[in-house]
Structures are given as C-alpha cells and as structure tokens.
C-alpha cells in the first residue's frame, strides 16, 4: 500500500455543488480577473451575444480537449527565471490556476506529487 502524502491546503476553491466560480472566495478575488471579456448586453444585440457565447464554448472545448490529451503524459514546463522542469501532468482546476503533476523533476530532485502555479509558467509543451 502506498503511504499517504501530506496535503497542502489551498485557499478555498469553488463550491463543489455550484457551476464553478465562487466570486466571493479569497482565491478568486486574489487571482481571477473580475470580468472576462464580453460585450455588454445593452450595447450588443442578443444575436452577437449568442454568437460570442458559441465561439467561447468552442474555444473552451478545444482547450479542455488539449488538457485531456495531456493527462499522464510527460510535460515540459518553462517557468520564469529560465527554470525548466518536467513532470507527468495529472489535472488542472477550472480557471487554470494550478496544475496537479506527478514525478516533478526539479533541479533539487524528484518530487512525487506537486501543484504548479500557472502564474509561474510561461509555457509548457508535450508530444502527441
């Protein structure tokens, strides 16, 4: 049996039963932009709003598929200050703030399980 690892508590995320963003959580206030770009209701007609929503969902679906394709693959992360690390990607949270990875190969050694803050990354890549 595997020995359990200690878990670092993050500030409270979105409510488990809600549809995602809890705009009152400290984490959301600290990290998320309060608005995502959208045309305001009175300026644009409902047709353009609907079109915008369709485009947004299509883009998002493609992005989520990218993350799905990335699960349990070795991913190369380029962080700030020219730090390069490699790890096996596990999961991401909905607002792309943290990645859960396994076998993180750091300059100091291998970390079995880790959370990477997306704010620290410039880019990451993997092979298909």
């Amino acid at each position: 049996m595997k020995t359990p690892v200690s878990v670092l508590r993050l500030p409270r995320g979105p409510e488990p039963n809600s549809r995602g963003f809890d705009p009152n959580s400290p984490r959301y206030i600290a990290l998320c932009p309060t608005t995502i770009p959208a045309s305001s209701g009175n300026k644009a007609g409902s047709v353009t709003l609907e079109e915008e929503q369709r485009v947004r969902s299509e883009l998002r679906e493609r992005f989520l598929r990218t993350l799905l394709a990335m699960t349990s693959k070795p991913v190369h992360f380029s962080l700030y200050e020219k730090v390069q690390v490699q790890a096996k990607f596990g999961a991401s949270d909905i607002d792309i703030l943290n990645f859960q990875v396994s076998d993180l190969q750091t300059p100091l050694g291998v970390q079995k399980e880790a959370l990477l803050r997306c704010q620290d990354m410039i880019s990451f890549s993997f092979q298909l």
């Binding site: 932009p33 995502i36 770009p37 959208a38 045309s39 079109e51 915008e52 485009v55 947004r56 299509e58 883009l59 998002r60 493609r62 992005f63 598929r65 990218t66 394709a69 990335m70 380029s78 700030y80 020219k82 909905i94 607002d95 792309i96 997306c118 704010q119 990354m121 410039i122 880019s123 990451f124 890549s125 993997f126 092979q127 298909l128």
Partner: protein
C-alpha cells in the same frame, strides 16, 4: 497582465487555425498552428507537426503573451489535421440533413408509442418535462425526473434504425 487577456473571444477566434509567432515574456518566441485560445486564461495552444507524423503541442499561458503575429493563413488541410489531432476517435459528425432525418425518425417513433412530443426546432420536447437535443440519442435526453428519463431513454434506445448513438 497584458492586453492579450482583454481581447474578445471573436478576436481570439480569428487566430484559430492560422500559423503564428507568439512572443512571450523573457523574449522567447514560439511558432506553430493555433489550435485554440482558452477564453478563461487566454492561453494559446500551438501545434507543430513533425515529419515523423507526430505533433508537438505548446501552450503559452495568457499572462505571458506579449504579441501574436500571423505568419500564414489557415488552409483546409491543416484545419482538418488539427481537428483530427485532439478530438476523440469515436466522435462522429452528422450533416444537417442527417440530423433532420434522425429527428424525424425519433419523432415518429415516439408518437407511435403514444408519447406526447413536440418539435421545437433543434430539440424535441416530451410533455414539457424532457428534452432531446441533437444528435437525438439516449445520451442526449435531459430531464429532472429520473423515472421519466429512464423510460424515455429505453424507448429511444429501442428506436429502429437509429444507429451509432452516443
């Protein structure tokens, strides 16, 4: 946070399937075909096809994007290649005609089984408690009443000639 994060989704969509050069922080530059731009984090997904047949995918986080430059316009071939790269193999694309056919067939089948069903354009509505959206399989039935849902789903599954349901 740069201006890239404040762009409207429609404008991000203009880059999709184009070959671009993304200038990121630390003066790094990445080139590739844009698969998508995440509307939440503004991250750009770039795909570079390799001669061996594989592909390498690079995601540049939205907050690190400084500039995006279009190198080459989209073409049909790459568009298809990009789409097939990351969509699951079991995915099936229906044409408008096929969808209409499927809807009509299911509509007829439900009526034949004395289920009150109305056609509301893209969706079929059953007695105001259940909707069936495209492509009209058992997996597309939505209802808050699980008993009705189970009944209608089994009926949809037994619909003759409605194959390849997902």
């Amino acid at each position: 946070m740069g201006d890239w994060c404040r762009v409207m989704p429609q404008d991000w969509n203009k880059y999709v399937n184009h070959e671009v050069r993304v200038s990121a922080q630390d003066k790094q530059q990445y080139e590739g075909w844009v698969f998508t731009v995440d509307p939440v984090s503004a991250s750009v997904v770039l795909v570079a096809f390799q001669e061996s047949g594989g592909a390498s995918v690079r995601v540049v986080l939205g907050h690190a994007v400084r500039e995006v430059q279009v190198l080459r316009e989209a073409d049909g071939d790459t568009e298809k290649k990009l789409r097939s790269l990351l969509t699951p193999a079991g995915c099936q694309v229906f044409s408008d005609v096929e969808l209409k056919e499927r809807k009509e067939r299911l509509h007829g089948w439900l009526e034949k089984n004395l289920i009150p069903v109305t056609d509301e354009g893209d969706v079929l509505r059953v007695a105001n408690v259940l909707t069936i959206s495209a492509p009209y399989g058992a997996g597309q039935c939505t209802s808050s009443n699980e008993i009705i849902l189970a009944r209608v789903q089994s009926l949809v599954e037994s619909c003759p000639q409605q194959k390849n349901q997902q």
